[in-house]
């Protein structure tokens, strides 16, 4: 019931978010049809605005937009005028989803074991090395990691392609570039969670019961220690799934991350609102899933 209630709450929330985005993007100076070259005649600018209803009052435009949304119509793109916003999302989202999912799996797959390892082996040299490595990945941005990986793996050694999105080989470098930062973040969170949990009373109880260290770590401590990672996963996944401007640019990947930034620069109003909505829905739904998984992992949390 709790989750149903939260789901129904999503609808008004979406309306508020879309309204905000809708108004804010129009407040920004400059419009979608401003160019370096003057429109040859004012008639043309007038006709263009009339065609896309930009000459109407904003509230009327918004009602028109919401009516379109009900029918699943996000409107036309004002920059790519032969495409609709839905066209662009349908083309780009699967690519961003694939890349995001892979990067997410990579981040968790590398981050969680590293975090556990550094917590268990606290104090010895291997722990220091692993902690340093995870800190390093957090400090170095994708803008640097990407080109460095390309230089060594693609250009020097010819192991992988430099860019584009064509075969499974093309997927590897962008996944590493996108995921490595989050792997570092996850490792740090996991380590913190593990260290805190290991001091809890039920761990002492478990040890007192005579359980092996292995059982203590993996059967009891792990479930609570992973909670910070789980709550971080929601926004992280939403971020990854909606694409990355930097990584998509470096590797020339046809995802939607590039549009996230460029659409607001070019004042492509419907595109901006469409993408904001998409991001918001993903974020809210994933956060809901995170809360749900809490109830699975932590026996103290019940949403009934």
């Amino acid at each position: 019931m709790y989750f149903l209630r939260r789901l129904t709450f999503l609808v008004p929330l979406m309306l508020v978010i879309s309204l905000l985005a809708f108004v804010l993007v129009r407040v920004a100076p400059g419009g979608p049809f401003d160019r370096e070259r003057q429109h040859t005649s004012p008639e043309i600018e007038r006709a263009l605005k009339a065609k896309y209803h930009l000459d109407e009052p904003v509230w009327k435009q918004y009602l028109r937009y919401v009516r379109g949304l009900v029918y699943g119509d996000f409107g036309p793109s004002l920059k790519y005028r032969n495409h609709t916003v839905s066209d662009i999302i349908v083309q780009g989202l699967p690519v961003s989803l694939a890349l995001g999912t892979l990067a997410f799996c990579f981040a968790l797959g590398l981050g969680i074991p590293t975090g556990v390892f550094t917590a268990i082996r606290k104090g010895d040299w291997a722990e220091h090395a692993a902690s340093f490595a995870s800190l390093l990945t957090i400090c170095v941005p994708a803008l640097v990691v990407g080109p460095v990986l390309i230089m060594w793996l693609a250009i020097r050694w010819h192991w992988l392609p430099v860019a584009l999105w064509e075969s499974p080989w093309h997927v590897i470098l962008p996944t590493l570039t996108l995921g490595i930062y989050f792997a570092g973040r996850v490792a740090r969170l996991m380590r913190e969670g593990m260290l805190t949990t290991l001091q809890a009373e039920f761990i002492i109880a478990a040890r007192a019961k005579g359980l092996s260290e292995r059982a203590v770590f993996f059967r009891h401590a792990f479930r609570l220690a992973i909670l910070p990672v789980v709550s971080y996963s929601g926004p992280l996944l939403a971020d990854l799934l909606t694409g990355s401007f930097v990584v998509e640019n470096i590797f020339q990947i046809p995802g939607i991350g590039v549009f996230m930034v460029n659409s607001s620069l070019s004042r492509d109003y419907p595109m901006v609102v469409g993408l904001v909505l998409l991001y918001a829905i993903l974020l809210l739904v994933l956060n809901l899933l995170v809360d749900f998984s809490y109830s699975l992992l932590d026996p103290r949390v019940r949403h009934e």
Partner: protein
């Protein structure tokens, strides 16, 4: 304390509980049982999905930014035009070597003695890629479509040389038959012009004036380009167009000159990062990079020395505008003083560096058969004298002033800083810099809300008029507040002149007013076109001032060096 029993990383178990929570017990049971199979199917689907690769193209070109539109009426950018020009052809087309107009869909034409009436004869074998013949009515439809304001054609001005075209566009006349373009029969088209237009055949070759399929457009509206098969009039068909991924062109076998189309399948990749473009080119994933923005500035010193890098004069000028309605820039002596104090050679050698040349006049060298007049050179002593004469000796009492430029593009900031430095040093002036985001910059510029404003202009056609008419008093692109009756008259008279020699003389006089006497603008340098392709591997590209390289004549001779796993590459 409640001790958990299930292993947390037992994914099938968790999923089963999740399904069970929602009452889907049957699904839950089956899920666990079928989990290994699910996983297998997923992995298989992924690898198959990634493994399906299209046939490699015969030619891969990195084309610059993603085209905003492939509709001749809407496209504006150079990257758009290159694709549109391959899909749709006009009455004339660009010669692949010189980029001068040559017969396209029209096999010949007759020009009246007063140069005001053109009669075009369409080819008998001109046909849409879907088989129907291309008729004179198609041309009339395409041009009237451009003129209708609802189409939103930004380049509609290119048609205003046709009789009554401007009136039709501004709704002064709603009768399309009054516009000076008429189909005499299926193959003959008569065009009446407002005046003798020396560059009219050049206009007919621009992608904007290309012939488009009426039935498809009327049926599908804005999304007509996504239809397959799309009827095209040019050398290539649009096989696929995925934003930010690629445009794939396939040879149009019904094109009248299909026998000379060199490559069957051509991929055009969008790319905005110079380093990515270079990487793709370097590893053989692309054969040609032909956008001047895609030359990595940091690597220019290395790149310039390569035999596969080509730089050439281009039909564009980098300049800045004065706002002559503001004091003290209403005084030509002040404008001249600022211009004379700029060491343009330093700007070109320090920042532009890709073969750009110093601009003392406005119309780029090599435009048509035109020879521009000499402008003002670099003379700091004269600059100081003029500034003193205008009442600001040594820059004293000169009011604060600013230079407006846009934030995208490092070079604009570098030049702004250098100008500040030069004027400080030579004239004792203090320039403020104002950097604005692109769209804000555009609005500010069009409202003439600046003292000085960084600008540039790329010619629409290969004739001095595309540069000169914009500074006529009533032109929307003027944006300086400068009006000069003599200038307007020379340009207007020049364009009424049928004799090319007399015409050039008049236009030269006009330009002299612009760059030597009045200076509402200061030209800084002429753009260079740059591209890279290996002459030993690629045939059919000739560099010309329009940076126009029809795809139909380009072909690759050597085998592809496309790099993949297990393949090796010779550096």
């Amino acid at each position: 304390m409640n001790f958990p029993t299930a292993m947390p990383w037992n994914f099938p178990g968790m999923a089963r509980r999740l399904l069970a929570q929602f009452g889907l017990r049957v699904a839950a049971e089956n899920f666990t049982r079928l989990f290994p199979r699910w996983l297998f199917v997923l992995v298989l689907a992924f690898s198959v999905g990634c493994g399906i690769r299209e046939r490699p193209a015969d030619l891969v070109i990195i084309n610059g930014p993603e085209p905003e539109s492939l509709d001749p009426a809407i496209q504006t950018g150079q990257a758009d035009g290159r694709v549109v020009g391959s899909l749709f052809e006009g009455l004339t087309r660009y010669n692949s070597v010189t980029a001068n107009p040559e017969p396209g869909l029209a096999e010949r034409w007759e020009i009246s003695p007063d140069n005001r009436t053109y009669t075009f004869f369409l080819r008998t074998n001109a046909a849409w890629s879907t088989g129907e013949p291309i008729t004179a009515d198609d041309v009339v439809y395409s041009w009237l479509r451009l003129l209708k304001p609802e189409t939103g054609c930004e380049y509609v001005g290119l048609l205003f040389y046709i009789k009554n075209a401007e009136a039709f566009n501004s709704h002064s006349t709603s009768d399309p038959t009054r516009v000076g373009v008429r189909a005499l029969d299926a193959r003959i088209l008569r065009v009446e012009l407002e005046g003798p237009t020396a560059f009219f055949l050049d206009l007919c070759a621009t992608p904007t004036l290309a012939v488009v399929p009426r039935a498809t457009i009327e049926k599908f509206g804005d999304r007509w380009l996504m239809v397959w098969p799309l009827p095209v009039s040019g050398a290539y068909q649009l096989e696929s167009w995925r934003l930010n991924d690629k445009i794939r062109l396939r040879k149009n076998p019904r094109y009248w000159d299909a026998a000379n189309t060199q490559s069957e399948v051509v991929d055009l990749l969008p790319c905005t990062l110079a380093s990515t473009a270079l990487n793709l080119y370097q590893t053989g994933a692309a054969d040609i990079v032909w956008d001047k923005e895609l030359v990595p500035n940091e690597l220019l010193d290395v790149v310039l020395k390569r035999s596969d890098f080509h730089a050439f004069n281009y039909l564009g000028t980098y300049f800045f505008r004065f706002n002559v309605t503001r004091k003290p820039f209403d005084d030509p002596r002040v404008r001249k003083a600022l211009a004379l104090a700029i060491n343009k050679r330093r700007l070109v050698e320090k920042f532009a560096r890709a073969g750009e040349s110093v601009a003392d006049h406005y119309v780029p060298d090599g435009t048509g058969d035109y020879h521009a007049p000499a402008g003002l050179g670099y003379d700091p002593a004269e600059a100081r004298r003029l500034l003193a004469e205008a009442g600001f000796p040594g820059g004293k009492n000169f009011p604060p002033f600013h230079y407006l430029y846009n934030a995208n593009g490092k070079i604009h900031e570098q030049i702004a800083l250098e100008l500040k430095e030069m004027w400080k040093q030579e004239l004792g002036l203090n320039l403020d810099l104002r950097k604005l985001e692109w769209k804000v910059y555009l609005t500010t510029q069009s409202k003439t809300d600046f003292d000085l404003c960084r600008s540039s202009w790329i010619g629409d056609y290969n004739d001095p008029n595309t540069f000169l008419d914009m500074f006529m008093g009533n032109n929307g692109n003027n944006r300086t507040g400068w009006k000069n009756a003599r200038y307007d008259q020379f340009v207007r008279e020049g364009n009424q002149q049928a004799d090319p020699v007399a015409r050039e003389k008049l236009l030269r006089t006009a330009e002299q007013i612009l760059v030597k006497e009045e200076l509402p603008i200061v030209p800084l340098y002429f753009y260079a076109g740059c591209n890279y392709w290996d002459p030993g591997k690629i045939q059919g590209i000739s560099n010309n001032i329009r940076d126009e390289h029809p795809i139909r004549v380009i072909r690759k001779t050597a085998a592809s060096r496309r790099i993949g796993l297990g393949e090796t590459r010779t550096p």
